[in-house]
Symmetry: C2
Subunit: 447 residues, 2 copies
């Protein structure tokens, strides 16, 4: 069963392919020159028609090319006052977050998805970082903002934002993945778009104060073994976190990618819980209570638990296991060109660094190691890339992440053997894309 999500909008239109000449030279254009010819065949280059079928236009003598002086070369451009805060080109208007109407009962307690098919590199730009709200995005005035630390502490505290910013801060790249990312795929290939199957994730440079510093300031009592983080939104969203994690690498962050958090991502302050499910990264955080046991809050009992085959539920399944996905080709990024192409994708592990990403073009029979972009950082996304040949044959593309602890991203079959089919959360299984003979890409389930 396959169900289309809301329309993805205008994506790249595949250009017709002109015949390909093999010049016999070790090069990329040997095959890719066709696309230039194709554009020429389809229209005009620089105001003059270019001979159709000239597969080797890229190798033509440029002296013979049309004058090729487009509008933007002729007229004065925009002044430096044009956009005090800049925006993407109008030609990139389809690179936006999207949501799925039928997924949730309301638009406020809902989610939108990062357009990861259009991401280059491991930074997710702030404008398209996915959002999951439980009571809508709160608009918080930073001057009136307060954070309270109470419960089993020597000295309950209330902080202003400026108080926190005067404490020693750090910046770190971390991925944030919703536990429900790929959740709709447990019961078959459901959504035909990588934005929807894997887009509940982002990766940014967070800046803030280590939570440990703030807790030490308040003085945690010996029986303080858990914290409860509570959001300042209308849902008052709250979660329990064991003290060990709170004192390890958690942060109270006010910035993402160098600037203040965006309203939908918790402005002015959110909890950062590296490697753990996104729901715990409490936004608009207003209070941290220290206790001796977990709170069993709504979002860690009725939700964000995993119903197992025996009818019991896994509770406190925090860590996000190694995972990866090919983002291009993908349903939104068909293969437009016969010959040599590049695939790219994203990999991550909540347990630490990504060690290796393997790619298969034949549904998991043969694997090749992909190239990892540097630097590879702890609990941060990494972009992987690999060249591949496309001659019009069917391909079954997969990627598989192996982290520094040797943990391997599983197949869905292997995952279901352990977890059954009732779950919504923590699906880190291998994704398969079918590239068909027209270069279109489809979400399929193998076996």
């Amino acid at each position: 069963m396959k169900r289309d999500a809301t329309p993805v909008g205008r994506t790249q239109t595949p250009a017709p392919e002109a015949p390909v000449a093999d010049t016999g030279r070790r090069n990329f254009l040997r095959r890719s020159a066709a696309a230039v010819g194709a554009v020429g065949a389809a229209g005009l280059v620089g105001g003059k028609a270019f001979p159709a079928g000239a597969a080797t236009m890229a190798e033509a003598n440029p002296e013979n090319l049309p004058p090729n002086v487009p509008e933007w070369n002729k007229y004065l451009g925009y002044s430096v006052d044009w956009q005090p805060y800049g925006l993407p080109s109008e030609y990139e208007k389809d690179v936006v977050r999207r949501s799925v109407e039928w997924l949730t009962a309301t638009r406020e307690a809902s989610i939108n998805f990062t357009p990861i098919q259009d991401m280059h590199g491991f930074v997710t730009p702030n404008g398209v970082c996915f959002e999951r709200h439980h009571g809508g995005a709160a608009i918080v005035n930073p001057v009136d903002f307060r954070l309270m630390i109470n419960g089993l502490v020597d000295k309950p505290l209330v902080f202003t934002l400026q108080d926190l910013m005067r404490m020693p801060s750090v910046s770190r790249f971390y991925f944030l993945e919703c536990a429900a990312n790929s959740g709709m795929e447990w019961r078959g290939a459901q959504l035909n778009g990588v934005q929807f199957t894997h887009g509940m994730i982002h990766n940014v440079q967070y800046t803030g104060v280590p939570l440990r510093t703030v807790l030490e300031e308040a003085g945690v009592k010996p029986n303080g073994k858990w914290i409860m983080a509570e959001g300042g939104d209308s849902a008052g969203m709250n979660r329990s976190i064991p003290m060990e994690k709170a004192l390890d690498d958690c942060m109270l962050a006010w910035a993402m990618n160098g600037e203040a958090l965006r309203p939908g991502n918790g402005y002015p302050l959110r909890l950062v819980v590296p490697g753990w499910e996104g729901n715990m990264w409490v936004k608009w955080i207003r209070r941290i209570e220290v206790g001796d046991k977990p709170w069993f809050a709504r979002e860690e009992t009725s939700k964000y638990t995993d119903l197992m085959p025996n009818g019991k539920a896994r509770l406190f399944t925090w860590e996000m296991d190694p995972k990866s996905v090919i983002t291009s080709p993908s349903p939104e990024k068909p293969v437009l060109h016969k010959g040599l192409n590049q695939l790219r994708g994203l990999a991550w592990s909540g347990r630490g660094k990504v060690k290796r990403v393997d790619v298969s073009l034949d549904g998991g029979r043969n694997w090749q190691e992909a190239q990892l972009d540097q630097p590879v950082l702890d609990k941060s996304m990494v972009m992987f890339r690999m060249p591949f040949e496309y001659t019009g044959q069917e391909l079954l593309m997969q990627s598989r992440c192996i982290d520094e602890h040797g943990v391997v991203q599983p197949t869905m079959q292997a995952l279901q053997k352990v977890r059954g089919t009732h779950s919504v959360y923590h699906n880190n299984s291998i994704q398969t894309w079918l590239v068909n003979k027209n270069g279109e890409v489809e979400n399929v389930r193998l076996g």
Copy 2:
């Protein structure tokens, strides 16, 4: 002589400081608690007045605090459809690029400045990356975009954007600094704002194809020793680059911080020349010609050369030397709090990695090593941080960058001894901020 730039707009309003109680405990709040009390003294917290002069409000029993339920906790927030492409909070509306009216004859051949005083971490968000245009920002249609490689090559080539994207790509963080950054400071402390003294810089993750790959595709002839990169804007801005650099680490980049380049930063393609002056990073690049000698283009003869004391001009001064600046405190970021504060700043070197940043609070007499945020990357900015005490005394704050080759950021006196006072470009000297007794910060020249 001191001249104010265009108004910086609303900056943080210093809150009145309440008396400080020293609780004797090793903590940050010992001194910083005052600010919370100050806000309480100045108004309401959560709807109820908080006792004025309660310097240790942060240590008060939170059970006694007012209910503290602000509006955003009471009402449903925005839906996930609110901003398909997200924007900063309305409270951050002053974190924008700014320009200086008197600096250039036109607004199109001009520059705007990155608000580095508000940057956290080493990523510059795309919306505020500074822009220098020579004929205005070109708006290029990526479908009609072409890049030509010609001159001393075996096979002249014309690429579409898709052709380039099918070649093997990489992502790398690099700083881009205009050669004229801090140029107005050669003849004394001129501009009272770090956005204006040091804001002609940004640092993003660029993604593209190595220029080497493209040149190898065309086949550089043995006498091809230089390239000329030509922009697709109305200025047709062009620069000569030695082949050695072109084959080393230059890139043709289509993405910054994960998404397509912004129009003002060269969309859809710009040259990346790591560590070298920004003028060479040709935007909207349309042509690369291979030659046997430099072109002596306008922007490398009449401009972007350094007039020396003997009347001759240094030519081809490409590399950006080690440099750093404290971004907070700075004229835009006064010291609002008596007690323990944190300073932060940015450091970079066009020669490689930053090895160390020293900070002085007394005008260069004593130096302490600042903390460097990880990872420290090649030819990328690094954020440094250091705690400091402020008791209302005057401070003369400086920072000094030392790169991995041991090259040290010089004083202005040392720099002027070699270069004289006629130059506009390549001022990498140490910046001094005077913090006065009111916590205000001023741009001053020592000695």
